[in-house]
Structures are given as C-alpha cells and as structure tokens.
C-alpha cells in the first residue's frame, strides 16, 4: 500500500513558509511526488514520532486533515509502524499516552501469564531490580533537607544546589567519623577505669616535664582564652591526643580508627565522583557540540520563582555571547603572527611570575607567623594583655585567612590580561586559588614539623635526647591538634563575621541607597567555586587534625550544621543568582576530585607522624614507644600463630612484588582497552557520517524518481 496524498509536500509546503528552497525538496512540484522530509520521516529512526499510541495522530501531521479515507489509511500506516516497533521496554518508558501504556502493560502481563512466567533467571533479575529500586527510593527519602535543596535549585540554579549537596555529603562523612570515634577511642578509654591525670611537675624524666594545667585562680578571660586556643583545662581533656592513657588496646583501636576513617572517606568520595565522571566522560569532545547543548539545555526547567526570570534570560544571553566571543578569540589565536605570539607569551610569563611571587610572599608570611608565635609569646607586653596574647596565638590562622581573602581577587584581576578564553580563565583562577588554600595549610604544617623535629636534624641539640624538641613542645601531638582546632574555630568565626558584618549590612544599607549605585552595590552573588574551595579547605583541616584532636570531627559536624543554616539564610536573604553559572555536571565531577586531593594531602603528615616521628614520652596512648606504628607489630605478636604468619606474609616481598606486577598488567590492559574503544568510536563516527550521506542521497533519488514517475 502506498502513500496517501495527505502526507505530501503540498500540505507541509503551505504550513512551512520558512522552508528554504532546495532542489531536492520537491516543493516546485506541487501535484506530484513527495518532499525529502516526507521520505525522511518514514525512516525507522523516526518510528516513535510516527506511532504515538493507538488513536493518536503521528507527530508532524497537520491536524486539519480529517477526511474519512485519509483517516483510515493513516490508521493503517500507523499500525504498520507499530509492527516495526518492538517493545521490550517496560511500559513506563514508552512515549505514549497513559491509556496506551496501561493497555500495553495489561497485554504484556497477559502474555506472561499465557506463556508462563519466563525462565527463573528473568524472574530473579526482575525481583532484584525491583528491590534495588525500592532501596534506592528508601535511601533517597532518608536524606535530610531534600526539599530545601530542591528549592535552592529552583531559585538559584543547579550550581548553587551542588554546593549545598556537597555540604550535606561532608556532614555525613563527619557524622560517620564521630560515631566511629566514639566507639573506637572514647569507649575503650573509659572501659578500663578513669584515665589518669596530667603528669605535673613532679615526674622526672629525661624528656623534661609537662604541666598542662595552669595553677591558681583562673580568671574569666583566661577561661575564654583557654577555650579559644585549646589550652588550660582543655589541653588535658578528651579533645586532644595527650589525654588518652597508654593502654595497649586503646593504642591499637586509636590507630585503627584513623585508618578506618581515611578508608571510609576515600570510598564514599570515590563513589560520589564515579557518577559525576560517567556524566562528564559521556560528553566526549565537549567543545564540538557546545552550541547545541547551550541552546537546548540552556533553560533549567526546574526554575520556578517569578523573581529571577529576567536575570536568567540575561545570563543565557551573556553565556551565548561569551561562547561566540570565545570562538572568535580562538579563531584569532589561530592566525596570530609570530611577533604577536611572542608578545602574548611574554606577557603570560610575566604574569605567571607575578603570581608565583605573590604566592611565595604569602607562604613566607605564613611560615614566619608560625615560627615566631612562640617567641612573641615570651615577650612581657604580650603576656600582660590577654587580647594580644590571643592574637599572637591565632597568628598563623589570621595570616592564612588574610592571604586567602586578599589574593583570589588579585588573581581575578590578573587572569583577563593573559589573553585566554573566558572558560580557561575561570579554570586558571580556580586552580590558583585551590593551590593557594591547600599550600598555605601545607606550609603551616611544614613549619610545625620544623619546630617539632628541629628541622629534621635528629642530632640537633634540642632533639638529641628524645627525638623531638622536648623543651619547647613536651607534647607535640597536642600542639598540632591545637593548631588545627584554632584553624577550625577561626574559619567558623570569619564565616560568621563576613555574613553578619559584610553581607547583611551591605544588602540592608545598599537597599536604601537610591538608583543604580544602590543596585550595583546591593546585588551579591553566591560564588559557588570560592565557597566550595572553602568547604574543602575546612574538611582538609579536619582530616589533618583528627588524629591529634579526636573530637574534631564532632566539632566539625556542629560547625557544618551551623554553616548550612547560615549559608542558606544568607543565600535567600542577600543573594541573587550568579551571573556566571557553574554547570552542574562540572561541579559533580570537579568537586569530589578536589576533595580527594585534600584527602591525599592530609594523609601525608599523618603517615609521616605515625611512622617517622617519635611519640611524646609524657602524653598520649603511645608514650614510651619508639614510633606510633610500633604498637601494631607488638599486638600482632600476641595473635595466634596462623594469623601472625598470614599478616607477616602480607608484608613480605613475596606478596608485594606479584601484587605490583598483577596491578600493572591490569592497568596496562585497561589502558589498551580504553584506547581501542576510542579508536572504535572514531571509526563508528566516520561510518555514521558516510551512512548519513548515503541516506540523503537515496532519499533524494527517491524523490526525483517519484516526481518523474507518478506511479510511485
């Protein structure tokens, strides 16, 4: 049966005034033949458009054609299409009206009943799939603040939502770490009776004395000072490492807790980044289809506030203009002469040198601040004024916060001068800010290490007797814990201060200012990348410090809870959506990756302390050992023979070398597989283009033939 005249070019030609006249369109033959588009519409790939369910017109037919015979032949045509479509899909995936899906489901169920339910494997697979769906739904319902996150996404876009989602994820990690801590360190501590008090002045040992409790009457401001800097009564408390008694069981569980938390965090972050990775890898060669993506996925359908629509449209216009501009810049860069290139590159080198100089100055400042804290504290002026004493104590934190506050805007100013495209500039700024934040923490840790181990020189005067600088730092682990505690507190205080003293007043006051100036100064944006880097920095601090300050994850949980509500309030009250949206897919991949980097960085000082620095002789669960790790081999020797042999075997070369070999082989195999898949993809792409050309050629031939031979 052949085509009916209702689907020919005349009907379409009249409604599509915009069809560009092309020779193959057949529009110049009004009475005969079909157009190219009608032929292309009959292809199997457009089957779902043609058959939209029983009783529904195929997509693309004008609805005025209601003649009797036209209707009947269209029905036949539609049914023919239905035969083409195989339906192995579950009913809800079919793009049909509800009634059609219901009928399909019922007929499917009837078929199953008639032919007997399928093989056991099918049933089992279906059951497994159903239960997986139910558990996924259940877990989703358990997640707190789901409605808040959706509201934020609806008003401010998916980028801002991803910040709060990351905050919720980090909260979960901290809660898990705190729970593990309660079970593995707090519980064993009190299980064997109340832990002993501090050693005090009476104990004589070659490694000096340690007296954390200050004597006499403690004034109120000293109490406050102690609270803020972790000294005094807080120093010998479950908050810090020094408090825990030297029982062997506690030592083992303490160490295991540190490793368990690290492993757990690693697994969770990997799990989170894998889904983001899948999405981003799928967008292979994103530069090649960016315009289509921007046009078709530009509007976030989830937006539902009246307030920000106009802004949203401006953002889309801005993004499209930026995209076009970038194409132009890229085209310009491709035709640059040698002289121009040399100029551009020399400017870039100069600016990079400037950036390095600024970073170097910042790091030196942090290093100096940490080194001189101890000396400054000895001066009589500082001893007398408690405020100054607090300030000197917090000097490293103040320096780090100051550097993190001042330098990123400078980077933002420098980046446009380098002549890169806008998106590259954003990436560069982000990388530099990230480096600044994490490296300033590393510099702080380095200067602490310098103090503790006398610059790594085991033969130095101060470190010879005990392996660490026992005169100045009788309990060095507690010192490290205190520094991290101070960083955490200061971070929270600056967050509160910025919100209360800068953002709210700016919104309130500038709302009262008239005209454009008021609007300009009053519109604040939620800068997603900066905020996320702040979060990751805070979490890295906690990871570094949790071995030396076991209650730190608990404190961080409280801090992140406060932060969530504070940021939410600030967002809804003072911010409008950011002009440069951060795409959600990049966010989901990039942020967990940076989190992994933070975890990796935090593991270095931890592993170094565990294996290489002798623990303090006067405090902590590892006092008297040669190294913190030394507890483990001792406790292994108390295990039964077979377990010992097994564990020792794991450490021998006979196990490590084959493991390494097998891992390398697997990795090489995976890389080779990925390469061959990549080659297959490009081959298939080329084949697809050729097939598309074949298709068009054949369709045009069909149109030409049908126009010359009306019998078709």
């Amino acid at each position: 049966m052949e085509e009916n005249p209702t689907l020919d070019s005349t009907a379409w030609g009249s409604s599509n005034g915009w069809l560009a006249p092309r020779e193959a369109r057949g529009a110049s033959f009004p009475s005969a033949g079909r157009s190219l588009s009608s032929v292309l519409n009959e292809l199997p790939s457009a089957a779902t458009l043609r058959y939209r369910g029983p009783g529904v017109l195929p997509w693309g037919t004008p609805e005025e054609e209601e003649e009797e015979d036209g209707g009947r032949s269209r029905q036949a045509f539609a049914e023919a299409t239905q035969m083409e479509l195989q339906d192995p899909h579950p009913s809800r995936e079919l793009p049909w009206p509800m009634q059609a899906r219901r009928a399909h489901r019922q007929s499917h169920a009837r078929d199953q009943l008639v032919h007997g339910s399928g093989p056991r494997m099918d049933q089992l697979a279906r059951l497994l799939w159903r239960s997986k769906e139910k558990t996924k739904e259940g877990l989703q319902r358990l997640q707190p603040w789901a409605w808040t996150l959706k509201r934020i996404g609806g008003q401010f876009g998916a980028g801002t939502e991803s910040y709060f989602s990351l905050l919720r994820f980090l909260l979960l990690l901290n809660v898990l770490a705190s729970v593990l801590m309660a079970c593995m360190t707090l519980l064993p501590t009190w299980l064997e009776g109340a832990p002993p008090g501090p050693p005090g002045l009476n104990t004589s040992s070659p490694c000096g004395f340690y007296d954390p409790h200050s004597q006499g009457l403690v004034t109120f401001d000293t109490q406050l000072f102690n609270l803020l800097s972790g000294e005094g009564y807080l120093e010998w408390s479950p908050l810090f490492y020094g408090f825990y008694p030297p029982c062997p069981h506690l030592a083992v569980t303490y160490l295991c807790w540190a490793f368990a938390v690290g492993l757990l965090c690693l697994l969770f972050i990997l799990h989170r980044s894998v889904s983001g990775l899948k999405q981003t890898l799928l967008a292979e060669s994103g530069a090649l289809t960016s315009y289509s993506h921007r046009v078709f996925s530009a509007w976030d359908f989830g937006l539902c506030g009246d307030v920000h629509v106009r802004l949203r449209q401006r953002i889309i216009l801005y993004e499209l203009q930026v995209e076009l501009e970038e194409t132009m810049v890229r085209r310009q860069a491709a035709v640059r002469t040698l002289g121009q290139q040399a100029r551009v590159w020399s400017v870039r080198v100069l600016l990079n040198l400037l950036v390095f100089a600024l970073l170097g100055a910042a790091f030196y400042g942090v290093y100096w601040a940490t080194e001189s804290t101890v000396e400054l504290q000895e001066t009589p002026l500082v001893q007398e004024t408690p405020l100054l004493k607090l300030g000197v104590n917090y000097l490293p934190s103040i320096f780090i916060a100051g550097v993190n506050f001042v330098l990123p805007p400078v980077f933002k100013l420098i980046a446009p001068l380098e002549g890169y495209t806008r998106s590259r500039q954003i990436v560069l700024i982000l990388l530099r800010t990230l480096f600044l934040r994490l490296a300033s923490l590393v510099v702080l840790l380095f200067s602490l290490w310098n103090q503790i181990t006398c610059g790594g020189d085991a033969e130095a005067e101060d470190c010879k007797t005990c392996g660490y600088n026992y005169k100045e730092l009788p309990c060095w682990e507690t010192l490290v814990g205190q520094e991290m505690y101070k960083l955490l507190l200061f971070d929270l205080l600056t967050g509160l201060a910025v919100a209360l003293l800068i953002q709210f007043p700016r919104k309130l006051l500038c709302g009262l200012c008239p005209g454009a100036l008021g609007r300009l100064a009053g519109t604040q944006e939620f800068q997603v990348p900066d905020e996320v880097l702040g979060l990751i920095y805070a979490q890295t601090v906690v990871w570094v410090g949790s071995f030396f300050c076991p209650l730190l994850p608990l404190l961080n949980t409280v801090k992140f809870l406060l932060l969530f509500y504070l940021k939410k309030l600030t967002l809804f009250f003072t911010c409008s959506p950011a002009a440069r949206t951060f795409r959600a897919s990049t966010a989901n991949f990039f942020f967990p990756l940076v989190l992994l980097l933070g975890l990796a960085i935090s593991s270095v000082p931890l592993l170094y302390s565990i294996f290489l620095i002798p623990p303090s002789k006067l405090c902590g669960p590892f006092r008297g050992q040669s190294s913190i790790w030394a507890q483990i081999p001792e406790s292994i020797s108390s295990l039964p023979e077979t377990a010992q042999n097994f564990l020792f075997f794991l450490g021998t070369q006979a196990f490590a070398v084959p493991l390494l070999l097998i891992s390398s082989i697997l990795m090489a195999y995976t890389v080779a597989l990925a390469n061959s898949y990549g080659r297959l993809i490009s081959q298939l792409k080329r084949q697809r283009e050729t097939e598309a050309q074949n298709k068009v050629f054949l369709a045009r031939r069909a149109v030409a033939l049908s126009s010359t031979n009306p019998a078709f």
């Binding site: 693309g60 509800m98 530009a298 937006l303 009246d306 216009l317 499209l320 959600a584 298709k695």
Partner: protein, 185 residues
C-alpha cells in the same frame, strides 16, 4: 475554581500509576492534590479536565518560556486529564530515562510540528530563551549556523529526531535541566 469531589485515591490506582510512570508515591499524591485544587467542582478526578491556561499558570510552568509548547505536547484535544498531568510529570521527573526525555524534548522544541527542528524552530527557541526584542539578527543567524553545523549530520539544514537524540545524549546537562521538581504543592 472550586474543588473536585475529594476522593481519596484508591491504593490499586496508586500502585498502577507508580508502575506506569516514573513518579514516586509522594509525587503522585502531590499532583493529585494540585489537580483537585484546580479542577471544576462536582466532578470525579478521573473525569475532570483542566484547560491549557490553568496548567500554564502552575508555579512550575508559569515562568517557563516553553510552557505553551509543553501544554500542547502533553494535552489531548486542548484539555488535560489527570493522567495527562501524570504523564507530563513523569517525563519531567528525576528518575525518567533519557530516551523518554529526549523524545519529548524534541516534540516540545518542534514548534511547527513537521517532525524536524528546522531553522524556523531554532529561531523561535533562541528568541524564547532570550525573550528580548532587541536580539540582534547577527547573533541569531550566528547561533543557528553554529548549532546546525554541529548537529546536522546529513546537511539538510534541519535536525531530525536521531540527530537531536545524538546531540542530547552527549549533553551532560540535558538531564539536569529537563527536570521539574514541584507541581504547585
């Protein structure tokens, strides 16, 4: 305005809707509530219909530049039944499969309903997105030219369904942006 007869949804109906759509139980009940608030008085929810204007004015769709297209694609004979609303919510839900979303996105973006997204459609899409009367002609032509160059594989100056599907399947943000959470409750 006024409310439909307040019938509680039967448990079997709820189960069936859960099997036939991608919506969760809470979402279905939420849409049920919204529907009851809007439909004409005195009718059972299964027989009542809403006009396209009523659906267009839901908070979820009110600011959407493509709301008239959405209503046209999902309605039957210009009216929305409860099941039409469920189908619409199912396509826009978070759990919907990509093929379904791409299918309906294509129908929504095909303004002149000829089965292809041609230059006229693209122009309308871009104008709706920007919604400013002073978009320069150059910008429009440039954008259309770029989009067609990227995604039109058979050089017929239009995007067929398979070309659109190919382009969107690679877009990591398509699934995220083609999503509606709330339906007015």
């Amino acid at each position: 305005m006024g409310q439909c007869l307040r019938y509680q949804m039967h448990w079997e109906d709820l189960e069936e809707y859960q099997a036939l759509t991608f919506l969760t139980r809470n979402e279905i009940l939420c849409i049920h509530d919204t529907f009851l608030k809007l439909c004409p008085p005195g009718k059972h929810y299964k027989e009542a219909t809403l006009t396209m204007d009523q659906v267009s004015s839901l908070p979820a769709l009110r600011v959407n530049p493509f709301r008239d297209r959405i209503c046209r694609v999902f309605s039957h004979n210009g009216m929305f039944s409860f099941e039409d609303m469920l189908s619409m919510a199912s396509v826009f839900s978070e759990q919907a499969c990509p093929s379904l979303k791409i299918e309906y996105a294509f129908r929504i973006y095909d303004f002149n309903e000829n089965g292809f997204i041609d230059e006229e459609d693209l122009q309308k899409i871009i104008l709706r997105l920007l919604n400013s009367d002073d978009t320069s002609e150059d910008l429009l032509v440039d954008l259309m030219h770029h989009v067609l160059r990227e995604s039109d594989l058979d050089n017929d100056n239009m995007l067929s369904f398979s070309e659109f599907e190919h382009a969107m399947a690679k877009s990591p943000d398509f699934m995220n942006s083609f999503r509606i959470h709330f339906w007015g409750c």
